[in-house]
């Protein structure tokens, strides 16, 4: 029983990391990133390929974060020149291109066959039986680290500039600060978090393929932060929890609601995600936990 709960906790913690990254980007700078799953994908494939070649996590994780951040760089440069909704569309295209590359470059990614047999994360460090708990502990530590880092950023001069950019970009420019560089850094930071999440994911599921990195994942994370409340770390946490409860909980739904055929469950899940996004956007844009941003 505990092992099952730990499994759910691990997936949840991975999603929290994704939500924290997205929340950093949107909450602090207002960047609408519809391509978050692209960074997730880069991190996952990097960790998978490197660890299968024998590199230890101490190397693969930072490289995964680095490559995800680097992938964000050209996207970031583009974002500076574009209106928010245009950027949103471009970022969606970006994540699809990442998926196409993963599909097409067979020599690198094994294409649609995917990469299987990714080694477990803590295998060499702890006994087999304790491995999941160790992974969960590490994940929680990383999440905590991300949260602390975000708190420090928010309270630092850098963070104050970010908030000022969000509130009034022209004023910031007139003060001689360069909002572009800051926005870029935030985008890359959020991407790095997604890359680390991807690395954890690859090790945990042990099999990755391009079809696991589709835009729907991005929109599920969006649903999480909208419901939880943007701009607040607690919002990302609460929102992700609700998301996971929904995704895993719907597994048990057919016991409670027997007259819905199981086959339709996937459509119902999709519909509920859509409805949640619409309702929260309409009636509670600040989410459950409240909103720091003025949007």
């Amino acid at each position: 029983m505990e092992a099952y709960l730990i499994a759910i906790a691990i997936i949840t913690a991975i999603y929290v990391l994704l939500a924290l990254g997205l929340n950093l980007q949107y909450g602090l700078t207002g960047l609408i990133n519809f391509g978050h799953v692209g960074f997730f994908c880069v991190g996952a494939y990097t960790a998978a390929l490197l660890s299968k070649r024998g590199f230890p996590p101490l190397i693969t994780f930072p490289v995964a974060a680095l490559l995800a951040a680097l992938a964000a760089w050209p996207l970031g440069l583009v974002s500076l020149r574009l209106r928010e909704d245009y950027f949103a569309i471009v970022s969606l295209g970006f994540s699809e291109v990442v998926r196409l590359v993963a599909t097409s470059e067979r020599w690198l990614t094994n294409g649609v066959q995917g990469i299987s047999g990714i080694p477990k994360l803590m295998d060499s460090l702890v006994p087999r039986a304790a491995e999941p708990v160790a992974v969960l502990a590490l994940l929680l530590a990383v999440n905590l680290g991300a949260i602390l880092m975000m708190r420090r950023i928010a309270n630092s001069p850098f963070g104050r500039v970010i908030e000022a950019i969000r509130d009034n970009e022209e004023a910031v420019k007139s003060l001689g600060k360069d909002p572009a560089g800051f926005k870029l850094k935030v985008l890359m930071l959020g991407a790095a978090l997604a890359g680390i999440a991807g690395a954890f994911y690859a090790h945990y599921i042990s099999f990755i393929s391009p079809e696991q990195f589709i835009p729907l994942v991005t929109f599920q994370i969006w649903m999480a932060i909208i419901m939880g409340g943007v701009g607040r770390v607690s919002g990302a946490l609460v929102g992700t929890l609700i998301l996971m409860l929904f995704l895993e909980g719907s597994r048990f739904l057919h016991d409670v609601i027997p007259f819905i055929p199981d086959v339709e469950m996937a459509s119902i899940r999709l519909g509920v995600v859509g409805l949640a996004i619409v309702l929260f956007t309409l009636y509670r844009p600040q989410g459950l936990m409240g909103d720091f941003t003025r949007r």
Binding site: R81, Y86, G93, L270, G271, L282, R295
Partner: protein
């Protein structure tokens, strides 16, 4: 050489469907000023309703009429229920809400019709050969429909009072208000028109390909790209851009292969936004 010409024809053909979808996108983008991500799924809905209608009435034309009416209705309803309440908020909010609406529509379609493919029952015919290039009568029909849709849109926008008001609202909302134009009625008319065009695009796509719950969503990125390429708010631009994109995409296949050709719309979109944000026909409004 024939090979290239055939690719050109293939591109023109797929570009027309993209162009129709882009027409729907650009109408909403131009007047309501946000990117409606539910366009794709609304296309699917139009196709499904037309399919059901054709089955019930036994006629494709009648079914399509029902599909177009349904599309118009869905457009107006989503405005009344959702988008009207989001006026004044950032355009991103509306974009987000439209994503949610799109997912809802897709779920509803899948629940109502199931996931297996449907097809419009149309007779298959052998093509005509002109200068050793194959031209299919169906393609010509598609072109005719696209031109008709454009013509109707043009007529509404330029030849009717409500269309003039739409263009006024598109140009400058506050000025339009000050001139006494009641935005609500204009918007309803706009969404009826956009919804109808969306359905037409969906039905044409369904006739060309197969009808599945995901069919419209796949068209979304190319439609956005074409709308932006053509210049937001320019109906002719959207259709021309759609054709251009489709053609470039197909003709690029000998160079980039069949997987990456899909990325071409994205690349074009990016280049346009960076180099000439107003698109081919638009005014300099700025993408920033």
């Amino acid at each position: 050489m024939t090979g290239f010409l055939e690719l050109l024809v293939a591109g023109l053909n797929s570009g027309l469907v993209v162009g129709l979808a882009a027409l729907a996108v650009t109408l909403v983008f131009g007047v309501a000023r946000f990117a409606n991500a539910a366009t794709g799924d609304a296309m699917s809905l139009g196709a499904y309703v037309a399919f059901a209608g054709a089955n019930v009435t036994g006629s494709l034309i009648a079914g399509s009429a029902i599909g177009v009416a349904a599309g118009a209705l869905v457009g107006a309803t989503s405005y009344l229920l959702v988008f009207r309440k989001l006026v004044g908020r950032s355009s991103v909010t509306a974009l987000l809400a439209s994503i949610g609406i799109g997912l809802l529509i897709r779920a509803a379609i899948a629940l109502a019709f199931g996931h297996q493919q449907r097809t419009f029952q149309l007779p298959l015919v052998r093509p005509w050969r002109i200068f050793d290039i194959r031209i299919h009568p169906n393609d010509l029909n598609l072109a005719v429909v696209a031109v008709l849709a454009l013509a109707v849109t043009f007529f509404v926008l330029h030849g009717t009072p409500v269309g003039r008001r739409m263009r006024a609202v598109a140009d400058d909302l506050s000025l339009a208000r000050v001139s006494g134009i009641a935005p609500a009625r204009v918007m309803i008319a706009l969404w009826l028109l956009a919804g109808a065009v969306t359905s037409v695009a969906g039905i044409m796509l369904g006739i060309k390909a197969v009808i599945t719950p995901e069919m419209g969503w796949e068209m979304l990125l190319p439609a956005f790209a074409a709308a932006i390429l053509g210049g937001i708010g320019h109906p002719v631009g959207a259709v021309v851009a759609g054709i251009l994109l489709g053609t470039v995409q197909e003709m690029s296949t000998p160079f980039v292969g069949f997987t990456y050709k899909i990325a071409i719309s994205f690349l074009v979109l990016l280049l346009v936004l960076l180099l000439r944000p107003q698109g081919l026909f638009g005014r300099v409004e700025g993408a920033r």
